[in-house]
Symmetry: C2
């Protein structure tokens, strides 16, 4: 089904602890010690620690040196992830859809070329979509991808998700994205497409997505209607032992 997805021992421990906590461990209750878990699963302590590292990273548990590992106080809103529009909507319990789509190959031009790190004269695939959530217009999205990385993409765009096509047909897996989020007000034409009053406030999101080799694969500018959409994200303190 999914793509390789090797299950490690640390994964098994993490899932076990997820289940144990969900089954009824209250906030601030103590988990088994790392050495106990290592014995129980007949694995090394380091492997147990990798499982706990991830749970701590997600805010599910916290650790106190010399004392133990404990369940965090609050149920966590899932950490912010790179996700497609469809995944994002489903995670919110909204049914995603698409009103219209057009795709064509055009010259990159200065702005798009700069964002993707290609020459302004290079070809890019331009995809424009109006996305819906529960059948209401939600977002106008303009995506641009270097044609060189996705030859023939325009002919493969069915009703499938763009990210699905990228992974299946081009072995491109997006790993990271930089986003800049601004607020704006909608010009009458765009407001009409989103079925909101002219000059309504909206999010303007500029996203550059990169694959596992750090290559810019997609640059997208999206307008989300402000009355229906919100960003939810979880941030952490860094804690590098640096200076400056």
């Amino acid at each position: 089904m999914s793509t390789t997805a090797r299950v490690t021992k640390a994964d098994l421990v993490r899932q076990h602890l997820d289940a144990v906590i969900a089954a009824g461990l209250a906030p601030h209750e103590k988990l088994p010690t790392e050495r106990e878990l290592a014995d129980e699963f007949s694995i090394s302590r380091l492997t147990v620690r990798r499982a706990l590292d991830q749970l701590e990273h997600e805010g599910v548990v916290y650790r106190v040196q010399g004392a133990g590992t404990f369940v965090s106080d609050k149920a966590i809103t899932k950490s912010f992830e790179l996700s497609s529009f469809s995944e994002d909507m489903r995670a919110r319990g909204i049914v995603p859809g698409s009103l219209s789509m057009s795709a064509e190959v055009v010259g990159a031009g200065a702005r798009i070329g700069y964002a993707l790190g290609v020459s302004p004269a290079d070809d890019v695939v331009h995809i424009r979509r109006v996305r819906t959530g529960d059948d209401a217009p939600m977002c106008i999205e303009n995506s641009y991808l270097p044609e060189r990385l996705v030859p023939g993409l325009v002919d493969r765009l069915g009703s499938d998700s763009l990210y699905g096509v990228l992974e299946r047909d081009f072995s491109l897996r997006l790993e990271r994205a930089d986003q800049v989020i601004k607020v704006t007000v909608l010009e009458p034409e765009l407001a009409a497409e989103l079925q909101v009053p002219a000059f309504s406030p909206a999010f303007l999101v500029m996203r550059t997505a990169f694959d596992n080799r750090g290559r810019a694969v997609e640059y997208a500018e999206s307008l989300y209607r402000g009355d229906r959409y919100s960003y939810e994200l979880s941030v952490r303190r860094h804690g590098r032992h640096d200076d400056a």
Copy 2:
């Protein structure tokens, strides 16, 4: 000076690699192998991997199994971090300041009490500030903290940063925050405080910050003017070996 801040061997390797990359390694250039670095520093490979884990996490390098570790393509907009307003502004090269501040102890009430996980009848410290960037109003911020966690806070609020006081006087270190970001338009009174036209678009940010034990320490509602402020963040694909 700082708070303990033990320097690990992994930290030294990371700083070394940071410097090497900054000194002139181009995107997609190959770093030394993990085994070479382990020999060079006379440490174990696992320790080298911990340093590379962090650099990969920050988007500075990427790794390809069977091939090597490489410098990422783009200068990274630093991964999104929990930071105070002052830190945030300084990171953007803007001088932070404060126009006005008021602090008082009030009853939590339903909404604030719910956000902080305390009784609506409990006391909270309410801090209202108008924040400036390069001497222009940037943000109106209303913060609420459970009085029980920060007794006497109102008397200790000088010109110091709130987060600094929390750590120094109360040993509260904020580790994580959940944020919801919406767009809104500013009522005339608030617009006047931010020195923008009435009904200008703005960010409305609701943030709950937690300490290392997962206790809600601060709930804040902030209004950022939309013409001067933008969110910049970097997101990654998750890759939990889960399902559902």
